[in-house]
């Protein structure tokens, strides 16, 4: 059973894992890791997915990160930050290492592809047209700068909790808010450029 966690303030991140810190202090690594894994498995997977954007790669990276966390757990101490902050840092590093490998970076679609999809949405040329608003929106999101995409994806994965997103990305909350604001502005601009400024066109769902 997964624990539901409250959105933390940076200082509260340590407080919510006080039970895990107590287990670590008592030397019960297995129990502490089990608790960490149950509490953060979902968040770590979201983080990997937001950074890597490929589900199969994200699953592998989450597993790798958790194994690394297990290996590093004996050397963890509170000076390294809250357990969640520490785990997110390990996971981010694992994802960045994977992204540095050639051929693993996800390429976004070309402008022409997006334009074509948008055109199909406005005036479908065939009745069984498969282009839908979600697809166009996904493609437009995929064309945003990496930092904005990561913030946007995590923001919605994490049920709009800016504090948690900031913790996961290791950035100040205000930076996350700025990225989110710019991402939305960029999206609106792109929607307008593709003639999709009317929400009725892409709010069919």
């Amino acid at each position: 059973m997964r624990d539901r966690i409250e959105p933390p303030a940076p200082s509260a991140a340590a407080a919510r894992d006080a039970d895990i810190c107590a287990l670590l202090a008592a030397g019960d690594l297995t129990m502490a890791f089990d608790l960490l894994m149950r509490r953060y498995e979902r968040h770590l997977h979201h983080l990997c997915l937001a950074l890597l954007r490929r589900p199969e790669l994200a699953s592998e990276a989450t597993q790798d990160a958790l194994v690394r966390i297990w290996r590093a757990l004996p050397s963890y101490n509170t000076a390294l930050g809250a357990p969640s902050t520490w785990m997110y840092a390990i996971t981010r590093n694992r994802c960045l290492t994977l992204l540095a490998k050639p051929g693993l970076r996800v390429e976004s679609l070309s402008d022409e592809d997006v334009a074509f999809q948008a055109e199909q949405l406005i005036s479908p040329s065939e009745p069984d047209n498969t282009a839908d608003s979600q697809q166009v929106l996904q493609q437009l999101i995929g064309k945003l700068p990496d930092a904005q995409q990561q913030c946007l994806r995590l923001f919605y994965f994490e049920e709009r909790q800016v504090a948690e997103v900031a913790l996961m990305l290791g950035q100040p909350e205000n930076t996350v808010k700025t990225h989110l604001h710019r991402a939305r502005a960029n999206l609106k601009q792109q929607l307008q450029q593709h003639g999709l400024a009317d929400p009725a066109l892409w709010l069919g769902h």
């Binding site: 997915l49 989450t62 979600q134 609106k188 892409w202």
Partner: protein, 146 residues
């Protein structure tokens, strides 16, 4: 106001976009059996680590054992050489000085000297060699008590 400015500040569009994004970026489910896979990988890594540690310890023990054997063989050779050298020296000393000492003391006649002196030289040489052997390598196994 420009169209762009209007668009950016349109609350209806904001709300619509937020709803559309929430729909498009739904949190995906965690990979199935992730925890079990992680524990399995950890167990496998620990087993591999244990096996490699065991192999390393065995290799180290074998090397140490081989070194000890080599050292023992070397020491036995050195001791044997020393025993022979000492026995020969002791025998030579007895054979050289023995006749003069015996002649002075009138202990034994000249005829018997040819038998006694070599025997004495062998005894002194063997005693000196045995002393060195026992000091360096201990008593031979067949002479040890218990």
């Amino acid at each position: 106001m420009s169209l762009r400015h209007d668009l950016l500040n349109d609350p209806t569009l904001d709300a619509a976009l937020d709803a559309a994004l929430a729909h498009a970026l739904k949190a995906p489910p965690s990979p199935s059996a992730l925890q079990a896979s992680v524990w399995q990988r950890i167990a496998m890594e620990q087993a591999q680590e244990l096996a490699s540690r065991k192999a390393a310890a065995e290799a180290e023990w074998q090397m140490a054992s081989q070194q000890l054997d080599e050292q023992k063989v070397q020491m036995t050779r050195d001791t044997l050489a020393m025993v022979l050298g000492l026995a020969f020296t002791a025998g030579t000393v007895v054979a050289t000085l023995g006749p003069a000492v015996m002649a002075n003391g009138q202990w034994i006649d000249a005829h018997s000297q040819s038998v006694v002196l070599p025997g004495l030289a062998v005894l002194v040489g063997m005693a000196a060699g045995a002393l060195v052997w026992v000091e360096r390598l201990g008593w031979p196994r067949w002479l040890r008590l218990g």
